[in-house]
Symmetry: C2
Subunit: 231 residues, 2 copies
């Protein structure tokens, strides 16, 4: 195929699997990572390592500090990252780790780069099943963004050019994502998911992201290579 695409890469479990998947399908991937003032800034260096490992030569790390907007446990230390929540609690409402409009901002920027590259395909690793209640991880959001993309750009003034947002992990469980990744040879020890890692980069093991990740490895029957903080 070798068609160009822009892929949002956070360096986490989902987007790393997404990258391996897109490359296995012979997409010519340009990767976009955001340094947005996130509490877990170590994910940016992980994303760099993952991009290097997969030979992605076009990798932009965009800097957009979302801290002035606040409103999320991931962008301000004033709001604590919830720990040890029950599966039921995780399925209820929008958690404080939700970063307002984050995926909209990320996809908009991916769209900007795609338009310049002449790419009409965007990849995002959102997941509506083990999604921890984020509104911008749902299929209807992705569909609405596709529609917007086709009006927001030159595509909207040209016939026949249409953007597609690929979200192949959308309906997969975490265990299914890990199983897919293992079949593609993903080394999950280099990925990070924790919202609240310690200064050494070790995962807390107790936030929603860690719990969903742990459960995924257990259900997939795969040894969890994550480095968790002691205690």
């Amino acid at each position: 195929m070798n068609r160009p695409a822009v892929l949002l890469l956070s360096g986490g479990l989902d987007s790393t699997t997404l990258l391996a998947h897109a490359l296995s399908q012979h997409w010519q991937v340009s990767a976009l990572t955001f340094s947005y003032g996130q509490r877990h800034a170590s994910e940016v260096s992980r994303a760099r390592a993952v991009a290097r490992q997969y030979g992605v030569t076009r990798h932009v790390v965009a800097e957009l500090d979302l801290r002035p907007f606040g409103g999320s446990a991931l962008t301000t230390t004033d709001i604590a990252v919830p720990k040890d929540r029950s599966p039921e609690a995780m399925q209820t409402g929008v958690p404080v780790t939700y970063v307002p409009a984050r995926n909209t901002i990320f996809l908009s920027s991916a769209l900007a780069w795609a338009e310049v590259l002449g790419a009409h395909d965007l990849f995002i690793g959102v997941n509506a099943l083990d999604y921890s209640g984020y509104p911008d991880c749902r299929p209807e959001f992705i569909a609405a963004f596709e529609q917007l993309a086709n009006l927001a750009t030159r595509a909207g003034t040209e016939d026949g050019v249409r953007y597609t947002v690929h979200a192949p992990l959308m309906t997969m469980s975490k265990a299914e994502i890990i199983t897919l990744g293992m079949s593609l040879g993903v080394d999950y020890s280099t990925t990070t998911s924790c919202y609240d890692p310690d200064p050494s980069g070790a995962a807390c093991g107790r936030c929603d992201a860690c719990q969903l990740r742990k459960k995924g490895f257990a259900e997939a029957g795969v040894a969890d290579p994550t480095r968790y903080a002691a205690g």
Copy 2:
């Protein structure tokens, strides 16, 4: 009214008129300006001056360098800003000063801030009449963004909360915008529109933005207070 709103302020003629208009309607305005590596970076300091002048206490200048994406005469010096184009040429196709997906990125960020502020109203000074061929200045783009906003955020999971994108300048000519601004006491000498100002900040007088602005003042019968470069 005194309802909160987020307004995109570039410091140009349109967005300054928009601000005066929104304040005259008693919106409680928070203003958002982007420093995106634009050639005409002087607009950021103009935006600060305009916000100060209008007593907007909440003003965020977001930094997102769009230069790594390239593809626009406004974000790379490799592409020249077109000068002395005829009105017919300006109405044909998408010009090289178009910044891919810029308004999508700006509105997404405004949406993020609005969600945190509890505002459900966004203001943008786009204009489809004297719009110089930008796809993301059209009514169908604004409508699609509204739809996206209601799916992208907590609003999408709550009943009855809906975002509105206000684009009151959409169907006005530049002359009508200036006439509106004059009736609201806007001092256009502090605004900037030029895509390619000289180092002193003087407008070139020849790019599309300058030409549309000049024509607007002439048609409105208002003396043009813009400081143009000599020669």
